[in-house]
């Protein structure tokens, strides 16, 4: 209990004084040195543990298939090397913080609640951008795939607009919307619109003509034809678009949050940069990576579930 108390006290103190750079610079070296002391003891021990575990329990490792742990070998090794170099002072703290420092920064911000708030804000921005841009792209894709008139009316325009890198519009967007939420929402929506449009359109265009004719033979209404034949037929392609759009969504968000924001992970990273808190900057990168991966995992799971009829997804 006491250790937690002192920990939380220290955190409170830091948070209270974090507005003034002077106290921060006083505060941080102390903390750093603590980390250093811990770090110089810990990594070799941790590494040795790892080796012992491998050597000591061969039977346990054999039961876990090699395919399960092999992909993690390189990242884990990299982190160990990184930590070792940091502990030995080869990598300067100002250039790259030690992994342990990043973990500490994570823990600290998690306890203070800042992290959850920032992630929630960024996540909400990302999702609303995806929802708006994705819906527009999806509806346009369906409309242009189904209706010749709609296709002739809008496809060429969309294909032209798509060639403009949407981030190139940032100056214009700032002029239009200022630096508020609208700007970020607009850029994210614009970014995800095109991959979803293109893949939905393609998916609808490539639905098996014979199946559409079959639906017609059995007297399906337009809505029924869409629901039972066209949409499921286009779904694999739509998922490709979605996963592509997720990547663009995070990218756009990172850029627009770095330019102008007063909350969110990009803001957290940018403020940390001003105060030279490299551990928080790296923490922001890690969080982006984790969120990106998480979004992809969710999309994949959704895909697997929705396309379970497809032989490629059957176990």
């Amino acid at each position: 209990m006491t250790t937690i108390d002192t920990f939380s006290d220290g955190r409170k103190l830091r948070r209270a004084t974090s507005g003034t750079p002077r106290t921060l610079t006083e505060d941080r070296p102390q903390e750093k040195s603590k980390d250093w002391a811990q770090a110089s003891q810990n990594p070799p021990k941790g590494a040795a543990d790892g080796v012992q575990a491998k050597g000591g329990k061969p039977s346990g490792l054999r039961t876990i298939s090699r395919a399960a742990w092999l992909p993690y070998l390189v990242p884990v090794a990299l982190v160990i090397v990184w930590q070792t170099l940091s502990s030995l002072g080869v990598i300067s703290d100002r250039i790259m913080p030690a992994p342990v420092a990043v973990v500490a920064a994570f823990w600290e911000r998690l306890l203070s609640g800042e992290l959850v708030r920032d992630i929630a804000v960024s996540g909400a921005r990302a999702l609303s951008g995806l929802l708006i841009g994705g819906s527009i792209g999806f509806l346009l894709g369906i409309a242009n795939g189904v209706s010749k008139l709609s296709e002739q009316l809008t496809d060429t325009t969309l294909q032209m607009l798509r060639t403009i890198p949407h981030l190139a519009m940032i100056p214009l967007v700032i002029l239009w919307f200022g630096i508020g939420e609208e700007a970020k929402l607009f850029l994210t929506s614009l970014g995800v619109l095109f991959p979803i449009y293109l893949n939905t359109y393609h998916g609808v265009k490539n639905v098996d003509r014979d199946l559409v004719e079959m639906g017609r033979i059995y007297g399906m209404s337009s809505w029924s034809l869409f629901r039972k034949v066209i949409f499921p037929g286009a779904l694999p392609s739509i998922f490709v678009g979605l996963r592509y759009a997720l990547g663009i969504m995070w990218l756009t968000l990172i850029v627009s949050e770095s330019i102008a924001a007063n909350s969110g992970i990009g803001y957290m990273a940018n403020t940390a940069r001003e105060f030279m808190m490299t551990d928080v900057v790296v923490l922001a990168l890690v969080i982006y990576a984790v969120l990106g991966k998480l979004a992809d995992v969710v999309a994949r799971a959704l895909e697997r579930w929705a396309l379970s009829w497809n032989a490629a997804y059957q176990v």
């Binding site: 014979d210 199946l211 004719e213 079959m214 639906g215 017609r216 033979i217 059995y218 007297g219 399906m220 209404s221 029924s224 039972k228 034949v229 499921p232 037929g233 779904l235 396309l307 379970s308 009829w309 497809n310 032989a311 059957q314």
Partner: protein
Amino acid sequence: MSSYLLPSAMVWDAFELQERAYFPDGTEVRPSAEPPVLPKAPAGLRLRGVEKAFGDNRVLRGIDLDVPAGQFVAIVGKSGCGKSTLLRLLVGLDEPTGGEIDFIDDGGDRVAPDARIVFQEPRLLPWFSVADNVAVGLGDGVPKAYARREAELVLEEVQLSEKAKEWPAKLSGGQRQRVALARALVSRPGLLALDEPLGALDALTRISMQQLLTRVWRELGFTAVLVTHDVTEAVHLADRVIVLDEGEIKLDLAVPQAHPRRHGDPELALLEGQLLAAILGES
């Protein structure tokens, strides 16, 4: 197209009335009464001077044909002679450029068109289970419980009850074609058109499918129009074989032998010879 909805819609109307009478609040209680097995009469055909041209290409050049209700007709002919074109006209997938196509009852009176078609490819929806694919044949807006029961019944007919919940991807080619047949038959059409339905199957599967087709036709009593490139298949299944040549009927041959017909029956072999001669143009 809407006319093709008519029969199944009528079936459903009857059923709905019945259900409402028992369950006015429409709760999830299922009606205890069996779904209505409507007396569906086979529909015959009357073709008069039917023509079809694609631009300058006159594919069908005046077809006159009477098919009594309940008959099994086979159509054979060289590739490109217009067999598929004729079948698509019969089921209303295309409009003739000339002539008249009427559906008739036993007495020769005109009735509403009531046809289904099975193609060489089963054209199943891969994202629907077998039972749901069959239910597609009932048309839109049919309640689940009713559709499920009807699908079960007809899947039993084609001996696929145990596959009702499978994805089509997990079936063999012959099984998929049986699902397609079940889907075509679930609404009890008066006429079933089949365009080389067994063309993609291996010889053994084809023979058992022929037996199945004969049995189903005799049990359900629809009119059947089968397009095939296999003369042996034609004489084994059909009451009557028509040879189509350059858009005209070249030969109209009755096959009087009783069912079941043996493979290697000399009388059938004789008919086969006659048909082949007509198709290949040796008179």
